[in-house]
Each structure stands twice: as structure tokens, then as C-alpha cells.
Amino acid sequence: MPINDWFKQRETRRYTVTSGASSDGLPDGVWRRCPECKRTLYQGEVARTLSVCPHCGHHFELIARDRIEALADEGSFVEADAGVTSGDPLRFCAAKPYTESLEKARASSGLAEAVVTGRATIEGLPVAIGAMDFRFVGASMGSAVGEKVARLFELALAERRAVVLIIASGGARMQEGVLSLMQMAKTAAAAERFSAGGLPFVSILVHPTFGGVTASFAVLADVIFAEPGATVGFAGPRLVEQTIRRSLPKGFQSAESLVEHGMIDDVVPRGELRERVTTVLAYLMHRAPAAPAAFSEGEV
């Protein structure tokens, strides 16, 4: 496939980002069932608890924007690079065309890409914040996600902001082949540059985080938290099971076991995340950070 074709294919589309009316993007009137305690819950109630089951503490999946809003100061979030979205660089077509998966993801999530990034403040501290959304091709990392994450680290370094990322991912995005693989190196390099600037990076791993995202920027954070019940690893549990030819121990790759194995700092319930992140950032940015460089709305 000659490279010129891919360039021709580049185009400038525009997606209207429709932020869900309420948590999880589900309308208020809907009832949902808790997979843990099996109770039926009223969606309006669940939304008020950041989508945590009020009976058993089960953490429902949250959409990217709701995750950001749960952490950032109210109204402070301004999206960046909203126009960056996946193309189909390899004209990938196996089983079904990649473009079809993308269209479906866009339609169902209302998002342009699997990660939402931007500027915000958390208790007044300037941050560059991002959240991944599992509804968008399993929150996998292709060129667009890699680009947005790299840009986020770059803008944070330039404007002396902390980076806070809420991460979930199925891994590198198969449908962009080796280009996706290289996004691991690209994002890790951006995180490393940022880190050399003496600024803090806090990552929050949520269910599920695997493969090329875990093994690149996600775990390069200075402080790593995970939500209760999150499963995090490099190889998926099924592959591991095939490899060792016996069943996996209970709790394998769970957030709780990651703490025991020394990989993350703590398991933090969703309701406590904002406070914990705020406290950590206060420590890691205590050298009165320079006021963030002014940026015009046009750059966003």
C-alpha cells in the first residue's frame, strides 16, 4: 500500500461532541442492574454516587467526560485537540473494515476519539487532564490516541501543569498495526520528557487496563492509583491461562493484588479520588508552580 494513498486519505472532518446528559450517558429514567449485588438501581441515584452502587460499592464504567468532571474543578475543563481523530492509515480490513468500527464507536459514544484531553484546574492547581473511554474501540491506542496523549504531556510541560490521566484500555489498536505499536514509544517518550521537567504525573487505572497502554505511559506516573475491582496487566488473563495451563488464582491482576505486588500506590474508591489526587498534587507541586502560560481559546 503506497504511502501517498494514506496522505490522500487525510481529510479534515469535524465531530460534534455531545456530552451525555447524565452519568454514563444514560437518561435519568433508566433502571440498571448491579452485576455484583444483582440489585436493580435507579439511574438517577447511581449518577449522584459517581456510578458506584450504593449497596455493594461496585464501580460501574464511567464515560470519559464524567470522569474528568468528577476530578476537575467545576466548569474548569476546556478540551484540547478535540479535532484529532483516527483515520484508517492501513486501510485495515479483516473480518470487518476499521472504518466501520470507528463509525460505530463515534455514533454510540458521541466521541471523536478514545481519549478526551484538555486543561483544567483541581482545587485551583493547573492540570492537563485526560480520560479514556472504553466505549470507543475498547479505548485502544491508535495514532490519534497516541498523538493526543503526547500533545497533552507537551502542553503540560510548556505550561507547567501537572498531568492527571484516568486510564482504561484494551491495549494498542490492532487496526493501525505497527503504527499503534509505535504509539507506545511515542507516549512513553513524551511522558519521560515531561517527567524530566520536574512536574508530577498521576495516573488512575480503571477497569480494564491492558497491553500497550499499561506498558507505556500509564505506569510511568509518579503516583499510580487504581479503582477498586479494576483489572490491570500486560497480557490478558486468557492468554496467561493458556500459557501456564492452569486456572488463575483469585484476584489475579486485580487492583488489590497490584498493591501487594508493589506495582501501584493504592486502591482508591471513586468517591475519594478527587480528594486523594488533590492532596498528592499539593505535595508534588509545592514548589509554587509558575502560573500557566496564557493560552487563547483558539488553540484549544
Binding site: R14, P89, G146, E147, E176, V178, L181, G233, F234
Partner: protein
């Protein structure tokens, strides 16, 4: 020639065997056989050309895995002198799936880091078939840091199906070990020349697999996922790996087209194992040339250039307005 025969080679090999049998016959006793042999020789040659000159991605993957293909130890032995192996991660173990060594190429002292597949089954078991455990990546990271401290250029050899996916690999932080390699590699203040000599499987390859120059052997591959695993995900059928391989853009030619690989080292018809010494020597020349070119850049320029190379990889769509 008791060599390993790849599935797609079988028709050719059968003809070659038939030809060899014919040649054992006393031609003086059967004069009209000579013409038949010549015909067959032409047929074999034609088949060899068409088959090997147009290997499909999946066939290339098979060639890249050929057990007799030259492996990292072959490059170390043939190209380098004064090799001093450095072992261990100083914390848990010495992973023999990765080799790190001080080594000299011509008159240039470098740090070599490579996946180390074995030549025999016994060796392969000991080396986990070149699939590193976390301590292997940590050993590689230690070698990178030593190279940085003593300003030794780094030459890496990629040949792995991927990082080991065992239970204990997960428990000891496989993802963490790989990510730290990526971060360290990205900031190394010395030239980094990467040579993809066989398999380039996913994060396990990438951990030592990017730098200032990527040289790929003609039949080496570099992929985000193995074609088999991709086929399982897409088709629920590992047997459809050929289709996945074609879709994944994993060949050296694909990577050159994408601007990720910088150059390709040609292999003899049939694969590097048909003339290992020549292929290794050719790779050595490319490595030496790359080191000579990169040697002129100072540390800051190298790191900046490497970052820009990485930043440029990827194709996406960007809306111009908000």
C-alpha cells in the same frame, strides 16, 4: 541438507528432492534423461524465483521464525570482538532471553542488547524462546544506563515473539519493566541503532526496539500483535493468520513505506539461513555505517532527533476548527 522446511516451501522442496534423486542415476545408461533433468532444473529455478521473490507477509513471518535463521548470538560472534557479557538486573535474576554485552564492531566500542533465541531446543527452553521476563527488560535497562554513563552507542537486535505472558511475569510487573525501557531508551544520550533480524513481536520487541536508526532484514517483521492472536480476535480462528498478517502492515517493506524503518538488508532467495554469514556481514556493514553517521551528533541533538522521529509516527485526521 537436513534443514527445516517451512509449510509453503514444501512443493519446491519436493521437486528439489526429485531432482537430486535423478542426478544420482548414471546418465550414460539413460541418455534421454539429461534433457528431462535440464527441464526439471529450469522448473525448480522458476518456482524458486516466483515463490521466494513474492513472499506473502505470512510467509515472511514464517521465514523470520525459521529455526536455522541467524540469531543474536550469531551476530555477536561474527561481527563483534572483545565481547564481555553483562548479566543480571541486580534485583531478581539474570534472564537469558536477553543478552547485554560490551562489544566492539570494527574499532567502535558499543553496548549490545538483544533478544536471545536459542539454536537448540535445550537452549530455547533455557532462554524461554527469546521471550523476556520482567528481569530481562530490567537487565536491558541497566545496560542502557551503563551505556549512557560511559557514552557507549547502543546496538540492539530484535528477535522475539513477544514478552513472556506468564503468571509470574504479570506479578513481577511485565508492563512496568517494558514501560521503563521505553522511557529510558527515549532519553539515551548516545546513538541507538536497532536491527530487526527476525521476529519483532509487540511490546517485547519495542522495549529495545526504537532509536536513531532502524535497520530491518528483508524477512524480519515488526508487529503490534502476532498474526495468530490477531486472527483469533478477528476471526476466532488462528488458522487465518495469513489474512491478519496481510492486514497488519508488519513486513520490513511496510515499515519502510511508513517511514518507521530506515533501510532493508537483502536476504538470499529463501531467507537469511540460506547464507547466514553473508547476511550477518551485510547487516554489520549497515550498523557500522549508521554508527559512523550518528557519531557526529551531540547528545542533546540525538535525543531531540529521536523524539522528533517518534513524534512523527502515526496517521490521524485533524479537524481544523473547534
Amino acid at each position: 541438507m537436513a534443514r527445516f522446511v517451512m509449510e509453503f516451501e514444501r512443493p519446491l522442496v519436493e521437486l528439489e528432492e526429485k531432482l537430486a534423486d535423478l542426478k544420482k542415476i548414471d546418465l550414460a545408461a539413460m541418455p534421454d534423461l539429461a534433457a528431462e533433468i535440464t527441464d526439471l532444473e529450469n522448473e525448480v529455478e522458476r518456482l524458486r524465483q516466483t515463490m521466494y521473490q513474492a513472499l506473502s507477509p505470512w510467509e515472511k513471518v514464517q521465514v523470520s521464525r525459521h529455526p536455522e535463521r541467524p540469531k543474536t548470538p550469531d551476530y555477536l560472534e561474527q561481527l563483534f570482538t572483545d565481547v564481555v557479557e553483562l548479566r543480571g538486573d541486580r534485583a531478581f535474576g539474570d534472564d537469558e532471553a536477553i543478552v547485554t554485552a560490551l562489544a566492539t564492531l570494527g574499532d567502535r566500542r558499543v553496548m549490545v542488547i538483544g533478544h536471545r533465541k536459542g539454536r537448540t531446543t535445550k537452549e530455547n527452553v533455557k532462554r524461554n524462546f527469546g521471550s523476556p521476563h520482567p528481569e530481562g527488560f530490567r537487565k536491558a535497562e541497566r545496560a542502557m544506563r551503563l551505556a549512557a554513563k560511559f557514552r557507549l552507542p547502543v546496538v540492539t537486535f530484535l528477535d522475539t515473539a513477544g514478552a513472556a505472558p506468564g503468571l509470574e511475569d504479570e506479578e513481577r510487573g511485565q508492563a512496568w519493566a517494558i514501560a521503563n525501557c521505553l522511557a529510558t531508551l527515549s532519553a539515551l544520550p548516545v546513538p541507538v541503532v536497532v536491527v530487526a533480524i527476525g521476529e519483532g513481536g509487540s511490546g517485547g520487541a519495542l522495549a529495545i526496539g526504537f532509536g536513531d536508526r532502524l535497520i530491518m532484514l528483508e524477512n524480519a517483521y515488526y508487529s503490534v500483535i502476532s498474526p495468530e492472536m490477531c486472527a483469533v480476535i478477528l476471526y476466532k480462528d488462528a488458522a487465518r493468520a495469513a489474512e491478519s498478517a496481510a492486514a497488519l502492515s508488519l513486513t520490513a517493506q511496510d515499515l519502510l513505506g511508513l517511514g518507521i524503518a530506515d533501510e532493508i538488508v537483502a536476504e538470499p532467495l529463501g531467507g537469511a539461513h540460506r547464507d547466514a554469514e553473508a547476511v550477518v556481514a551485510a547487516a554489520g556493514e549497515r550498523i557500522a555505517a549508521a554508527l559512523a553517521e550518528l557519531g557526529g551528533l551531540d547528545a542533546a541533538a540525538l535525543v531531540e532527533r529521536r523524539y522528533e522521529r517518534l513524534r512523527a509516527i502515526g496517521e490521524f485526521v485533524e479537524a481544523t476548527g473547534t
